[in-house]
């Protein structure tokens, strides 16, 4: 099997495993919770569309900051229980990024591909603010990959980072009235605690072509378990949901996320994400 075929197969298998794992978590949680006073209140299938603006600085590629904007489709599942909320999200981006010094002669641009798969479990703690806010604490698993193709860098045109991390999460939820209509606000912050970061120690197409290369094995060899300091990640998200008919909702959300890898192959990335989401109650 050729390299690309292997890569596709490996990536596909990994994604499938992640999806199954996430589904398994949700399922097992349901089985344990039933009968313990944590009944399911609402379940939503979500479908999102929005935009993301990205800022990247990859010291192995360029001393410049790169910026770009792109369309963001996404899908997810939200399960609200009496005492917990679990959320699974999948977001995908394709776009391009550019440096501010780009010119027609020296384009300084790259194609950008990004995938985020995340599962959060938040446990209700208590009401605060005279009962107006519901406070949740929990954790989040997040798998993030971004790949850039920069043709101007010749055979070193592939740069990427792939992280799987566990975050500490906390959230506040409250209902409020606006124009005599009920809205639900939800604010969540995730701070990365432990991450498995895969970034090749050598960014060159030659390295991927060697017929004897075990691509996955080499990428795992390039990987590290990193904690705060070496790999910092944070995500902050504010959502406003508006109930419509039949228990469905529409939601607007703004999210900001940032990561910083501080080993030999330094890289930083941040993005602002605006999403409109339809939440189908099932």
């Amino acid at each position: 099997m050729n390299r690309i075929g292997m890569l596709k197969k490996s990536t596909g298998t990994l994604l499938l495993l992640l999806l199954l794992w996430s589904g398994g978590l949700a399922q097992s949680e349901q089985e344990v919770s039933v009968g313990k006073g944590n009944p399911v209140l609402n379940r939503y299938l979500t479908s999102s569309l929005g935009s993301r603006s990205v800022r990247l600085k990859d010291d192995h590629m360029s001393p410049m900051n790169y910026f770009g904007g792109m369309i963001t489709p996404g899908f997810g599942i939200i399960k609200e229980r009496a005492r917990s909320i679990s959320r699974f999200d999948l977001l995908f981006n394709i776009g391009s990024i550019r440096s501010r010094n780009a010119t027609e002669l020296r384009p300084m641009r790259g194609d950008y591909f990004r995938l985020d798969i995340q599962y959060a479990y938040l446990r209700y703690i208590k009401e605060i603010g005279e009962g107006k806010y519901r406070w949740f604490v929990g954790g989040k698993f997040r798998s993030h990959a971004n790949v850039r193709l920069n043709e101007q860098l010749d055979t070193g045109f592939i740069t990427f980072i792939f992280t799987n991390g566990l975050s500490f999460s906390t959230a506040l939820q409250r209902d409020f009235q606006l124009f005599n209509r009920k809205f639900i606000a939800f604010y969540q912050v995730d701070i990365g605690v432990l991450s498995h970061v895969v970034r090749p120690n050598y960014l060159n197409i030659f390295n991927y072509l060697d017929p004897e290369n075990d691509w996955l094995e080499e990428r795992l060899r390039d990987s590290d378990w990193l904690t705060i300091g070496k790999f910092n990640s944070i995500k902050s998200q504010l959502e406003i949901a508006y109930p419509i008919k039949a228990g469905n909702m529409i939601k607007f959300s703004y999210g900001w996320d940032f990561y910083s890898l501080n080993n030999k192959l330094k890289a930083k990335g941040a993005s602002h994400e605006f999403l409109f989401t339809f939440m189908f109650n099932f």
């Binding site: 020296r106 072509l209 004897e212």
Partner: protein, 333 residues
């Protein structure tokens, strides 16, 4: 309760505004800073300073004083080109919007050792062009000419050639003047020659700014794959100084097989796989960031010597003879 709302708003705004604090500003786009970026990048990531006995710090002392922020792009490019030329590396290039610097010392000043017109007129009567491979039969020997590794080699092409040359005394693979390209084509070709799994070379990659920041050595192997037909005959590989980069790797791969003899001149080299980096002005520089060794420890950066050293003689050329090809034919006789 408004306090909590305010805290949320402040936190959100804080994350937005903090972003600038996390990212360093773009470096200044002026000649001095572009030069410093280039010099520092090479200093941290280029691999052959020790091997080539180059004192990069002293080179800085020579070239840095020549840079002023008032100089033109062309003048800056000229200084950088001259400085990079001291690395004597064909995999080091600087690409601006108006020019590309390159090193040609790996073949200039050496015998040319190749003349395709002479071949066409005196050896290749009615050759076939199978994909990117010119091929013919000369005195019961199969001849394959591959002029660039940028031209794809397809499995079907190799199937055709194996069948065409079945039963012949031997095969000549001519990669003279082949300046490289995609090494995937090299692997595909060599898999048809491999008799068994063999260690072809070892590579280590620079992975940090320190002098000794290298990955562990990565051994590359090659073996016959699949059910594809293979060349079983004796093989002669023809090389000259313009056999560079992927062709250099191709030579390194082939020479480990006992049925292969390399004839001609030393290859041009190019043993460090290049990566690229940008300067603040958008010029891109590529440079070698890996060192490749033959199984016996020989570094292939400056070329691989042939098993039998032959130059094309002027006298032979005048009578329409390719001295190197003639030597290959006699070797296979």
């Amino acid at each position: 309760m408004k306090k909590i709302l305010y805290i949320k708003l402040i936190l959100t705004l804080c994350f937005i505004s903090c972003e600038d604090a996390f990212f360093s500003e773009d470096p200044a786009n002026d000649p001095v800073n572009n030069f410093e970026t280039l010099w520092n990048t090479m200093n941290d990531r280029y691999v052959f300073f020790d091997y080539k006995g180059i004192d990069w710090d002293s080179i800085y002392q020579i070239y840095r004083p020549q840079i002023q922020n008032t100089m033109t792009d062309q003048a800056l490019f000229d200084v950088m080109e001259e400085m990079l030329g001291l690395l004597r590396d064909g995999h080091v290039n600087l690409r601006s919007g108006f020019d590309v610097s390159f090193y040609d010392g790996f073949y200039k000043g050496h015998p040319e050792n190749f003349d395709f017109q002479l071949l066409e007129e005196n050896y290749l009567g009615n050759y076939k062009i199978t994909g990117s491979l010119i091929n013919d039969i000369i005195d019961s020997v199969g001849y394959i000419r591959y002029r660039s590794f940028n031209l794809p080699i397809r499995e079907n092409d190799l199937d055709f050639l194996v069948n065409r040359f079945k039963g012949l005394k031997g095969i000549i693979i001519d990669v003279r003047n082949n300046e490289g390209g995609d090494p995937a084509n090299a692997y595909r070709f060599v898999e048809r020659i491999a008799d068994q799994r063999r260690h072809i070379y070892t590579t280590k990659y620079k992975n940090g700014p320190g002098k000794n920041d290298f990955t562990v050595s990565d051994k590359a192997f090659i073996e016959p794959t699949g059910d594809h037909p293979r060349f079983h005959q004796k093989i002669v590989l023809l090389t000259n100084r313009k056999s560079y980069s992927a062709t250099n790797f191709f030579t390194a791969m082939l020479r480990v097989f006992p049925n292969v003899t390399v004839i001609g001149d030393q290859t041009g080299g190019g043993g460090g796989a290049p990566v690229g980096y940008e300067l603040p002005n958008g010029w891109a520089c590529n440079f070698s960031t890996s060192i490749t060794y033959l199984p016996d420890g020989f570094i292939i950066e400056d070329g691989i010597p042939p098993d039998i050293r032959v130059d094309m003689s002027t006298q032979d050329k005048l009578i329409g003879k390719d001295t190197i090809l003639e030597r290959a034919l006699s070797e296979l006789d």
